[in-house]
Symmetry: C2
Subunit: 206 residues, 2 copies
C-alpha cells in the first residue's frame, strides 16, 4: 500500500540488530489512521505496513492508544508553539491574527499527516477527548484574536464572531484534504492565498 521506505535506523551504537525506531512506527501508524480512521485500523494492518509482526510493535509502544496519543501530542505542540511567538503576542490585533493564521497553515503543511489525524478526531476515547480539549483551547485563543480585530475595526462586524472564526478555520483546515507538498503550489504561496482569500474575498478588487 502507501508505504514509506522501511527507514530502519542504521546502527546507533547500542546492542541488538538494526531496528525500526519509534518515529518510523509512528509515521506508518499515522498514515494508516488517516486512511482508515483510528478505530478501524488494526495492529495487524500496522504490522503488515511495517513489514513486521504485531507483537514487534509492542516493543516500541505500550499499545494502540499510545500511538494515537504520541501522534496527537506532536500536532498540538506544533500548533500551540505558534501562539507563543512574539508576533502572536504583541502588536495590532489584525496583524497578530494574520501571523497566527499563516503559522497554522505552515504547521499544517509541515506536519500534514499529524494535523490531519487531529482534525478528524471524533472524541470516542479519553485520549481523543483530551486532544480535542487542547484543540478547542487553541481555537478559543484564535477566536479571541478575531474579536479583538473586530473591535479594532479591521474585521467586518456584520457577521457573528463565532461564525467568522468557524468559516476561517473551515477554509484553513480543509487544506489537509487536498494539499500535497511537492506540487506546483509552495507552502508560502498557499499561506499567502489563504490569508488573501479570507480577508479580501474571491470577488474582483473593487
Amino acid at each position: 500500500m502507501s508505504q514509506t521506505a522501511p527507514a530502519r535506523s542504521a546502527g546507533n551504537g547500542r546492542a541488538g540488530r538494526e531496528a525500526y525506531d519509534l518515529a518510523a512506527v509512528l509515521n506508518i501508524a499515522v498514515a494508516a489512521f488517516n486512511d482508515h480512521g483510528y478505530e478501524a485500523t488494526s495492529m495487524g494492518m500496522l504490522a503488515q505496513r511495517l513489514g513486521t509482526s504485531k507483537s514487534a510493535i509492542y516493543y516500541h509502544v505500550s499499545g494502540k492508544e499510545d500511538l494515537l496519543r504520541l501522534a496527537l501530542d506532536r500536532a498540538l505542540s506544533e500548533l500551540e508553539l505558534v501562539l507563543t511567538k512574539e508576533m502572536a503576542r504583541s502588536g495590532d490585533a489584525g496583524d497578530r491574527l494574520r501571523f497566527v493564521l499563516r503559522g497554522a497553515v505552515e504547521v499544517l503543511v509541515k506536519d500534514l499527516p499529524y494535523v490531519t489525524l487531529l482534525l478528524r478526531l471524533r472524541g470516542n476515547t479519553e485520549v481523543e477527548r483530551q486532544a480535542l480539549a487542547r484543540r478547542r483551547e487553541f481555537d478559543r485563543a484564535v477566536a479571541e484574536l478575531v474579536e479583538q480585530a473586530r473591535d479594532d475595526g479591521s474585521l467586518r462586524a456584520d457577521i457573528d464572531a463565532r461564525t467568522t472564526t468557524r468559516l476561517l478555520f473551515g477554509m484553513i483546515n480543509s487544506i489537509v484534504e487536498w494539499y500535497r507538498p511537492g506540487g506546483p503550489i509552495t507552502p508560502e504561496r498557499l499561506a499567502d492565498d489563504v490569508i488573501s482569500v479570507a480577508f479580501d474575498g474571491l470577488a474582483t478588487a473593487r
Copy 2:
C-alpha cells in the same frame, strides 16, 4: 446514547407486527457512522441503538455496505439536483455560482448527517470509491462555474482556479463540523454569510 425515538411505522395495513422501516434504520446507521466512522461501526452497535438484534437489520438491508450505499446515494442525489435547476444553468456565471453555492449550503443543512457522511469518505471500499467519483463530478461542475466567473471578470484571477474552488468548498463543507439546526443562525442567514465571506472577505468593506 444519541437515539431518536423508536419511530416504528404504525400499522400500515399489511401483515406482521409493527416494525422499523428502512428510513428509521438508515437514520440510526448514518448517525452511528458519523460518530465512529463507517469501518469502525459494528452491526451490533447499530442493533443496540435500534433496540433490536443484529440479524433483524438484515431483514431490511442486505448488509452493512448496503446501508452506506443508500445513505450516500441520498446525499449525492440532493446535491446533483441543485445543478439541474434553471438558475444553475443559465444567466451570468457569477450569479449561477452564487445560486449553486447557496443550494449546496441548503442541502448540507437539510440532510446534514447524510452529507457529513459523504464528506468524510476515505475511499476504502468500492461503494465509497463510486460515491467519491460522483462527488468529484459535482465538484468539477462547480469548478467550471468558477472558471467561467473568472473569465467574465467577476472573480479575481490572481489565484489559481483549483485553489479557489478548493478553499470555497473547504469553507462550505466545514459547516457540517459545527452547524446544528435549531440554533440562533437560520439556514438562510448561514447561506448569506457564507456567500458574503467567500466573495467579499472578512476585512472591513473598503
